[in-house]
Symmetry: C2
Subunit: 305 residues, 2 copies
C-alpha cells in the first residue's frame, strides 16, 4: 500500500480559526492528519498529513481551496518570504512510493488548482517541468508583492498551471521531494545581522554545507538562524548545528535553544545521536524497539519510567 | 500480553562454538533472540532475548545450564570481573509487566538453577531478599577466585538458592531491574590508570553522576572507560559522555570512539539527540514514525535514501 506525505505551508500563523478551518478541510479527506505547527512571528503554519496518493492529493486540494478563501496575501506580513496563501505544497514518498509517484500527484493537483481555483501553480524539484525550477528558492525568488508585477511580463515567471495573474491568494509552489527538516536555531543576541551572517556562511548557496538552506531572522525577540535540511542523510542535524555554533562563535554569539517545525524522520535523530556519541553509524541497528520490530513485527515504542 | 526481556552475561567471548551453543539453547525455548554481542578482551558475551515471562524463564534456565557445561571458570581470564559461567542474569519488564513480575521469574528460575544444577544463586536488585544485595556490585564484590573461598565461611556470601559451594560453573547473580545501557568509551591513550581515574570520578560510588557505574580497563590496545547506565531516564548518554570527556580533558586525553554492548532503548538515543541539539525534551513527539504510529498503529521505520 503506497503511502505519501504532504507538508503544505500556509501563510497564516496568527488566527486560530483560519488555521483550524484549513486543517479541517484537509482532514475531511481520507488522510491521517499528523501535525499542525504554527509560528506567529513567521505568520506561517505547516500542516503534515499522510495517506494514499489519491487521498493526499484530494486533501491538499481542499486545503489550498480553503486557504485561498481565508487568506489575503495583500494584507499579509511576517518574517518569512512567501508567494501565496497556500505557499508551498510538497509531496513526499514514504512507503512503497517514489518521487515520480509524487510528481504525478503534484501535476494532477496543480492542474486542478490552476484551472478550478484560478491560482497560478509553479511546479518545483522532482515535479519541475523546467530546469530553472529545480529548487524552491528559484521558484519563490519573487515574493508576492513583486510577483504580482513580474508574473504579468516576465516569461520566467510563467506558471505551469493556472493564469499568469495573481489574486489575493497569490501563487502556489507545488512539488515532489524527499523529506526536509525545518530546524530553527536561536542565538543569545538580538542582532539580526549576526543571524544573517551565520546563515550566509553555512548555507550551500554561500559556499557552506551541501543541502542546507538558511535565513537570518528576528523572532521572539532574538536573532534566529532558520535552517532547512534538504537531504538529512548527506548533511544531518549534527553537522548543521556544529556549523552554526562555529560561525556563531566568530561573532561572539552562542546557541541558546533550538526548535523543530513540523515533524522529522526518526533516522535524523538517530544520526545526530550517533554522531554526537561517537558511536559507529550501524549502532542504530542495536536499538531495542527496532530489533524487536524487525524480528516480531511489533515496532511500538517501549516506555520506561 | 506481558513481554519481558532477559539480558544474561556469560563468561565466554572467544570460542564461537561455545557462544553459539548457549544461544541455541536459549533460542530452543519460545523466545525471540534479539542480540548476541561478544567481547574477546572482556571474554564475555551478552545475549538479549524477549518473550512471555514463562518462556523467558525457561530460556534463561537452558542458557545457564549450557554455559555451566561448557565454561570452566577456574580456567577463565578476561578484563571484566565475574563470578560464574552464566555471570549475571537480569529480567527486565518491557510491556504489560512489572519489576515484581520479573522478580517472580528470577525466584522461580533461581530455585531451579540452585536445586537442579547445583549452582549458587544470588538474587539482586528488585529480586533481592536481603538489603545487602540491592545492587549488582554488592553481589559481585568477590570475583570467582575469591568467592570460591569466602562462600564456605562468610555468612554474607550465603546464596539465596543452591549450595554454599562453587564448582567450575561458579555462581550466578540473578535479578530484576530496569533496562541498563552498557556503553564503552575508548580514549586516545594506552594508560589504564587514566581510564581508572576517569571511572572513579564519574561513577556514583565515587561521588559522580547518579545511576552511573564505571570501570577503567585496557581493551583493544587502548584505555577504555566501561560504563553502565542503570537509569538512563535520570542520567542518560549525553550527561554521561559529557562527564567522561570533561574528566578525560583533565588528563590530557580525548575520546576517540565509543561502542554499545547489547541493545539500548530508543528513548535513550532520542534523549541524547535532543540534549545535544538543544531541542525541548517534548520534541520526541515530533518524530514522524512515532506520530504515524500513534495515529495509525504503524510504527515501522521509514527508509529514506
Amino acid at each position: 500500500m503506497p503511502v505519501i506525505e504532504c507538508v503544505p505551508n500556509f501563510s497564516e500563523g496568527r488566527r486560530p480559526e483560519v488555521i483550524q478551518a484549513i486543517a479541517r478541510a484537509i482532514d475531511s479527506a481520507e488522510v491521517t492528519l499528523l501535525d499542525v505547527s504554527s509560528d506567529a512571528d513567521h505568520n506561517r503554519t505547516v500542516i503534515t498529513f499522510s495517506g494514499s496518493p489519491e487521498a493526499v492529493g484530494e486533501a491538499a486540494y481542499r486545503g489550498i481551496a480553503e486557504a485561498a478563501q481565508r487568506i489575503d496575501l495583500s494584507a499579509h506580513d511576517g518574517q518569512h518570504p512567501r508567494i501565496g496563501a497556500a505557499d508551498v505544497v510538497p509531496f513526499i514518498p514514504l512507503r512503497e512510493a517514489t518521487l515520480s509517484d509524487c510528481a504525478t500527484v503534484a501535476h494532477r493537483v496543480g492542474r486542478r488548482v490552476g484551472e478550478d481555483l484560478g491560482i497560478p501553480v509553479y511546479l518545483y524539484d522532482a515535479a519541475a517541468q523546467r530546469s530553472d525550477r529545480a529548487t524552491l528558492p528559484q521558484v519563490r525568488r519573487d515574493r508576492y508583492e513583486i510577483l504580482r508585477e513580474t508574473i504579468l511580463t516576465d516569461p520566467t515567471r510563467a506558471p505551469d498551471y493556472g493564469p499568469a495573474r495573481l489574486g489575493t491568494a497569490g501563487a502556489v509552489a507545488m512539488g515532489a521531494r524527499q523529506p526536509l527538516i525545518a530546524f530553527n536555531v536561536y542565538l543569545d543576541t538580538k542582532d539580526i545581522e549576526t543571524a544573517k551572517h551565520i546563515a550566509r556562511a553555512v548555507r550551500e548557496s554561500g559556499g557552506g554545507l551541501k543541502h542546507i538552506r538558511a535565513l537570518g531572522l528576528f523572532v521572539n525577540g532574538r536573532a534566529q538562524v532558520s535552517l532547512n535540511l534538504t537531504d538529512f542523510r548527506v548533511t544531518g542535524l549534527y553537522p548543521a548545528l556544529e556549523a552554526v555554533r562555529h560561525e556563531a562563535a566568530k561573532h561572539g554569539a552562542t546557541v541558546i535553544q533550538t526548535e523543530l517545525v513540523g515533524l522529522m524522520p526518526q533516522q535524523a535523530l538517530f544520526d545526530a545521536a550517533l554522531a554526537y556519541l561517537q558511536l559507529p553509524p550501524e549502532t542504530d541497528s542495536l536499538v531495542l524497539e527496532r530489533r524487536m520490530g524487525d524480528l516480531t513485527g511489533d515496532y511500538r515504542p517501549i516506555w520506561f519510567e
